[in-house]
């Protein structure tokens, strides 16, 4: 359990965003250990889920837009794909925020898994429109799985800041 922190944008938006970019960058190093490559989780889903639950914010969507563009540049995907794929689940989580806040860990984890699935599905739809092709199901499931496994990081971020703004307790 972490004590509640004051809600300054630098602490709850900019620093996590920088950490996401660094982690994404580290995981694209072409390194194989015993012939196996690193997985490629979507680290940006952690703040996407947490920011929507902590409190509604004007800054967060624009930060997600920049995060998505940064991920597209790092991964070489079409510019805007991950921005859209992050903003759609952010909006969905924001819409059901009142239902999710304060729930048990398992329910929150399921919510995070659904949000990750929504991001992957948005990516699939965008790719189908842009490239006229459907991504491989196994690749999608792998990326979704390793991203869902990151929920403890989102939980930590939520616990640190969810009580910081008394208007949204």
């Amino acid at each position: 359990m972490f004590p509640a922190q004051p809600l300054t944008p630098v602490r709850w938006i900019f620093i996590p965003a920088l950490q996401v970019i660094l982690a994404t960058w580290l995981f694209i190093i072409p390194l194989r250990i015993f012939g196996l490559q690193f997985p490629e989780p979507v680290f940006a889903m952690v703040p996407t889920f947490a920011w929507a639950l902590i409190r509604p914010s004007i800054l967060a969507p624009f930060c997600l837009l920049l995060l998505g563009v940064a991920m597209d540049i790092i991964w070489g995907s079409p510019l805007g794909l991950w921005a859209v794929a992050l903003l759609v689940p952010y909006g969905a989580v924001l819409a059901v925020r009142n239902m999710l806040v304060g729930q048990q860990l398992f329910i929150m984890w399921v919510g995070f898994a659904v949000a990750c699935g929504m991001a992957e599905l948005t990516g699939v739809l965008v790719t189908q429109v842009l490239s006229h092709g459907t991504p491989h199901v196994l690749g999608l499931v792998c990326q979704w799985g390793v991203t869902v496994a990151l929920y403890p990081l989102a939980d930590r971020l939520i616990e640190r800041f969810e009580d910081a703004d008394v208007r949204f307790r």
């Binding site: 960058w25 490629e40 509604p56 004007i58 969507p61 837009l65 998505g68 510019l79 805007g80 859209v84």
Partner: protein, 381 residues
């Protein structure tokens, strides 16, 4: 009126409403970015300034970051080689024995191939220059499979250049900036590569889907492919040369033909970028279009036994304007001699595929030489 009497001083936008408005604006901006991206084209302008600048930042930093793990990997590899030296030596000896047998076959085939080329007067691609580079990033998600290579426009790399490693084709260049190139892998969901099945010469389009094994679409003919058939690049479309090893065909779990990529047999750390230009691009097409074409009804007498071989096939040079330009094929002497070449008569009934004799130039018959195949434009495998 005093400031405190301002009727708008108490007006505050509700935070939730502001957040929703910000979300909509951000979403519209993201969609606009998405629609402006035209990655599927081969135009240099399609790779935006943002991506170029991003790549120029990402590549060197990734190179620094990946140096310690790369050194560690090399060290581990050296240790493994030390401990497995005996078995490795035994395996290499067996491979060398097989390679010696293939060597004599390759020399004989090269000799006969050059002889046939000379007899047919085939004009092959000029030698393909190559640039080696180091892959510094590797994105392998379902939506993007690409790599950044630490060589760029300063090495005359262009968008569309094919990329291979020591085992086979890896992909093609989709973005170039000074000091860095982005390589779209064959497995990327937007990758489409014209290939041929080596055994049957059947054509297909290899379509990436983000998985490890791209699928074969648009297969022509009856039973065109069997398990483990070698798959090569077909060169159709002029983006990459013909004959680069791509992989072997396998039946996927979904019942579709897929390709196990040759390039996956080793790491794709070091790659070779082929500075390939289809030789139709090298030809002066406007000049060719100006050439006078003999009327179809004109009879051209080709004396038998004069050392000339009649080549009555009109060579069609495809041009970008979709209007085929018919250029008379070249008549070449079978034996070296002073016999002049002349345009062959086009026969309307003849339906042979146009050989690559688009430039009507005289050329003496090439004698079988001891040049390596790579100098004739072949791709070293």
């Amino acid at each position: 009126m005093a400031l405190r009497d301002n009727p708008f001083s108490e007006l505050r936008l509700p935070l939730l409403l502001g957040a929703v408005a910000a979300l909509i604006i951000a979403l519209v901006s993201a969609l606009a970015l998405l629609l402006s991206d035209r990655r599927e084209t081969l135009q240099i302008q399609a790779y935006g300034v943002t991506q170029k600048v991003g790549d120029q930042v990402v590549a060197p930093v990734s190179g620094w970051i990946s140096t310690p793990p790369r050194l560690l990997q090399d060290g581990l590899s050296a240790i493994r080689q030390y401990f497995f030296a005996v078995s490795e030596n035994r395996r290499l000896r067996a491979e060398l024995e097989q390679a010696r047998q293939w060597r004599s076959t390759a020399i004989a085939l090269q000799d006969s191939s050059e002889r046939y080329r000379a007899l047919l007067g085939l004009k092959v691609n000029p030698p393909v220059a190559m640039v080696s580079g180091l892959a510094v990033t590797d994105s392998r998600g379902p939506f993007a499979n690409s790599r950044l290579v630490n060589v760029g426009s300063e090495m005359k790399i262009e968008v569309g250049n094919p990329v291979m490693n020591e085992n086979g084709l890896v992909g093609r260049v989709v973005g170039v900036a000074p000091g860095v190139s982005r390589v779209l892998l064959l497995t990327d969901v937007s990758s489409r590569t014209p290939v041929l099945i080596d055994r049957t010469n059947s054509r297909a389009i290899m379509v990436g889907d983000g998985g490890p094994n791209p699928r074969l679409d648009y297969l022509r003919g009856q039973d065109p492919v069997q398990e483990n058939d070698p798959v090569l690049s077909s060169g159709d479309g002029g983006v990459m040369p013909r004959g680069i090893p791509v992989g072997r065909a396998v039946k996927g779990l979904d019942g579709r033909w897929r390709v196990v990529l040759s390039a996956d047999a080793g790491s794709i750390d070091y790659v070779r970028i082929l500075l390939f230009k289809d030789f139709r691009q090298l030809a002066n097409l406007p000049r060719l279009a100006e050439l006078s074409v003999p009327p179809p009804s004109m009879e051209v007498a080709v004396p038998d036994g004069a050392g000339l071989k009649p080549a009555a096939v009109p060579a069609v040079v495809p041009v970008s304007s979709a209007k085929p330009v018919v250029v008379p094929a070249v008549v070449r002497p079978v034996t070296p001699g002073p016999a002049a070449s002349r345009p062959a008569k086009p026969q309307p009934g003849t339906n042979r595929p146009a050989v690559q004799t688009s430039v009507p130039v005289e050329r003496p018959v090439a004698q079988p030489s001891s040049r390596p195949a790579a100098e004739d434009g072949d791709i070293p495998h």
